[in-house]
């Protein structure tokens, strides 16, 4: 019981919210492209570029918010490149996304070397981190539960407020509706004179905006430093969550909270002396298992077909010629 208390407490929940924020932001960004019918695997790169240039901007200007703006601008540039190649030139989404991810990884490393002459990470150099927002009256109102709503950096609040805003956006605004239509039934959009190209550009740039914020949160909010490849797969995790949630903001939130919780929990476990490499896999394993379980009902066809064909391979047909009797 004592151990459980130590493991699960207010601090853990607060840590969950903190670890959820970046992946939530980048996944919500990806929700725009997912809804618009673009499979955007380039989230990781946009996030990484955002994180790097947020640090650079923060050092140059001495202001955390100007740093965030720089990070967002960098992510937008990546998103624009993605849109030009994928939407205008009809290049393959996966190839372009992967290429931009690799570009972001390599570019941040070489720029780091060129500017700071170091490899690995940027610490110090006058990086200004984001301030923590203390909500007045939180302590009086909630007592020991106050850390749940107070004391986060601004981007954490942005991430969570963005969820209901996106629900409203998709259901009640014209642009949100058009993004859904373009993704779900492009020929319907075309017939009504909605420009598919324009809607997809807008969706890509909105995605870049949130991915940039997510990156800036990593390097200026979460911790105040930049390290090589610091997005560490969160963009890909977001892609997985997007596939399973179909980009619905509430489902995205649920998936991200699960991942964030597992992430925070694994950090907890580390303090108990479990081997860290094993512990670090926990969030990914938990999130993937849960998403798979959740999606079994939603996407039964592929999975059931796989199971059925495995069953068929294992079973002995009465004519022992199962290959010839493919029901498809």
């Amino acid at each position: 019981m004592e151990i459980l208390d130590k493991l699960v407490n207010v601090a853990l929940i607060a840590a969950t919210l903190r670890t959820t924020a970046p992946i939530l932001l980048v996944a919500l960004g990806g929700s725009f492209t997912t809804k618009a019918g673009i499979f955007n695997i380039g989230l990781e790169g946009q996030m990484l570029a955002g994180a790097f240039f947020a640090v650079i901007g923060s050092i140059w200007t001495g202001s955390a918010f100007a740093g965030v703006a720089c990070g967002v601008a960098a992510a937008l540039a990546f998103a624009l490149a993605f849109a030009v190649l994928v939407v205008t030139f009809r290049a393959n989404e996966v190839v372009v996304g992967l290429a931009l991810n690799i570009l972001a990884g390599g570019m941040t490393i070489s720029l780091m070397k060129a500017i700071f002459g170091t490899r690995g990470s940027i610490v110090g150099h006058g990086i200004v981190g984001l301030p923590k927002v203390q909500i007045p009256g939180a302590q009086a109102l909630l007592g020991s539960w106050a850390p749940l709503i107070s004391g986060f950096t601004p981007i954490v609040y942005v991430a969570f407020i963005a969820v209901p805003l996106l629900v409203l956006f998709y259901n009640r605004t014209r642009l949100g509706l058009y993004i859904r239509v373009v993704g779900e039934k492009p020929e319907a959009a075309e017939a009504l004179g909605i420009s598919i190209t324009r809607v997809r550009y807008i969706a890509s740039l909105l995605c870049g905006l949130l991915a940039g914020l997510a990156g800036a949160h990593l390097s200026l909010g979460y911790i105040t430093m930049f390290t090589e490849n610091m997005s560490s797969g969160r963009g890909f995790m977001a892609v997985a969550i997007l596939i399973f949630s179909n980009g619905d903001p509430l489902k995205v939130l649920a998936g991200c909270l699960l991942f964030g919780f597992a992430d925070a929990f694994s950090l907890r476990l580390q303090t108990f002396g479990f081997p860290s490499y094993l512990v670090l896999t926990v969030p990914y394993v938990v999130a993937l298992t849960a998403l798979f379980a959740l999606s079994y009902r939603a996407r039964p066809k592929i999975i059931k077909e796989t199971l059925a064909s495995m069953q068929k391979l294992l079973s002995v047909d009465r004519n022992s010629a199962p290959v010839d009797k493919n029901p498809q």
């Binding site: 509706l177 319907a188 909605i194 010839d324």
Partner: protein
């Protein structure tokens, strides 16, 4: 006049789809445009709606000459078109779909309540029963069509064009649609409606315009026309609906099906103990209401679905143990029920489609390389002998009309040298002229000594062609009727599941 088209000519390359067509549609009438597939009906309507630009001719709407540059201009001029293929978004509600592109907004946000109320009001007024708040993805095709009509109405159309609206409807839904069309006319609106169904045209229209081979044959008040006259104008010759004459042939059994069982996609028994024989030079018909196991039976015989029990012997080989390719080698030619899914590759050329399945054989293939010259030459010959209306053998199949696509399938399957022909719904969605040509071809194959299993939901087709008719109900063969004394009542009883006294269910 609501619509006046003068001298409309539209060419696609060397092919003239519309050749100097004049059309005058009076305000407040239901004007049917009828013709065979490929007669130019849809092309003409696409010109009117701004989807195609005519090479010659002019368009007048309500007495004013206008340029219809695109559909937006047509909509602005009070035209609305309900296409054959619907463009609805499944995850959105009915009302959202109706108002898509012209949303009602309040304070910048979409006002769902107002959209639902307005949709409900329109649907009540014209008898287009829908639940405006329901998601479109959950609805049937018939209701989807109502939504497309509502879309047109909400955009203020006064003249509504419907392209083959009844092709996707049940008879009941068709009757409801006709009532709706009459209510439009009662409100002073004009309806133009494309069809190749004689009965419908006779039932619902005030005026008929007949097109044939891209030209107008005549425009006449429906009341002055008989069905026979209409058919003559459509095809330019007499069509016999009667039983085809035949010589009795008594060949050997080619296909022997013994106690065959199979399951459908839901794993429920769909074919239950079917047993029958098809002899050389004989057409055996399978009658039944769609969905009583005919599709599954055809799939088992062609190797596309496993049999759960029983045998089907084709010239000494049990089909239930063979792959589709091996069954074809054993002597099956298959005209599938859904030609667009299993009959053709719609993006491939006619030549490639006539080749499929024998691409590895001489003379099409030499030393592992395809001889396209030989293939195209053969395709050209098939186009001629099967009277396929196309520009050339390099044409992608999707550019042909339904009847001509079916002829491509027949041309490939009937020239395969197979002894057993499995023909599933050969004239579904095919116009009368092509229908007759297809029936002629089937009879030629019978005379050539082929064993033919003909599955059809159209009784008149079976009565015209089959030597014997087996009736399927709920996966069982209820009984057999000789083609010569095919009696609609008796077959109808069996189709409804009543066993005949003389022919006990097997």
């Amino acid at each position: 006049m609501a619509v006046e088209l003068t001298g409309i000519t539209k060419r696609f390359g060397a092919f003239i789809a519309n050749d100097g067509i004049d059309l005058a549609v009076r305000r407040g009438e239901i004007h049917a445009i009828i013709g065979e597939n490929g007669a130019g009906k849809t092309t003409l309507m696409n010109v009117l709606f701004g989807l195609l630009q005519p090479d010659e001719g002019s368009i007048r709407l309500n007495g004013e000459t206008i340029m219809v540059a695109d559909p937006a201009a047509a909509i602005k001029a009070g035209l609305g078109m309900v296409h054959q293929h619907f463009k609805l978004v499944p995850s959105l509600s009915v009302a959202d779909n109706v108002f898509l592109g012209m949303e009602i907004r309040r304070h910048g946000l979409i006002d769902h309540a107002a959209q639902i109320a307005r949709t409900r009001e329109l649907s009540k007024r014209f008898g287009l029963h829908v639940d405006p708040a329901e998601r479109v993805g959950l609805l049937s095709v018939g209701i989807e069509q109502r939504i497309e009509i509502l879309k047109v109405l909400v955009r203020g159309a006064r003249t509504i064009i419907l392209d083959e609206p009844t092709a996707v409807l049940t008879p009941q839904e068709s009757r409801e649609l006709f009532q709706t069309l009459r209510s439009f006319v009662a409100e002073g609106m004009t309806v133009i409606f494309i069809s190749h169904h004689l009965e419908e045209v006779m039932e619902v229209s005030d005026t008929v315009t007949v097109l044939r081979n891209g030209r107008k044959v005549a425009t006449r008040p429906t009341a002055e026309l008989s069905k026979d006259e209409l058919v003559r104008m459509m095809v330019g010759r007499e069509v016999s609906f009667d039983r085809r004459p035949r010589a009795q042939l008594h060949g050997d059994a080619v296909l022997e099906v013994k106690n065959l069982w199979s399951r459908d996609d839901r794993r429920l028994p769909a074919v239950r103990g079917a047993s029958f024989t098809v002899r050389a030079g004989e057409v055996v018909g399978i009658a039944g209401v769609a969905g009583n196991g005919q599709t599954e039976l055809a799939e088992v015989l062609s190797g596309l679905r496993p049999a759960s029990h029983g045998e089907a012997w084709l010239k000494g080989q049990d089909l239930t143990t063979l792959s589709p390719a091996a069954i074809r080698e054993a002597g099956l030619a298959h005209v599938p029920g859904d030609r667009m899914v299993r009959g053709v590759d719609r993006n491939a050329s006619i030549a490639a489609n006539t080749l499929m399945g024998r691409q590895h054989r001489a003379p099409w293939s030499r030393g592992g390389m395809l001889d396209w010259k030989a293939i195209a030459g053969n395709a050209g010959a098939l186009i001629k002998s099967f009277d396929i209306r196309a520009q050339g053998s390099g044409d992608p199949v999707k550019r042909l009309s339904g009847g001509n696509i079916q002829k491509v399938v027949l041309a490939r399957e009937f020239t395969n040298g197979a002894d057993f022909l499995l023909i599933d719904q050969p004239t579904r969605g095919v116009d009368i002229g092509a229908q007759e040509a297809i029936h002629d071809e089937i009879m030629r194959q019978r005379a050539a000594g082929r064993a033919i299993l003909l599955i059809s939901v159209q009784l008149d087709e079976l009565a015209a062609l089959a030597d014997r008719i087996l009736v399927m109900f709920n996966g069982r063969i209820m009984g057999e009727v000789a083609g010569d004394d095919a009696d609609e009542d008796r077959i109808g009883m069996m189709m409804a599941g009543v066993s005949p006294e003389l022919e006990p269910a097997r």
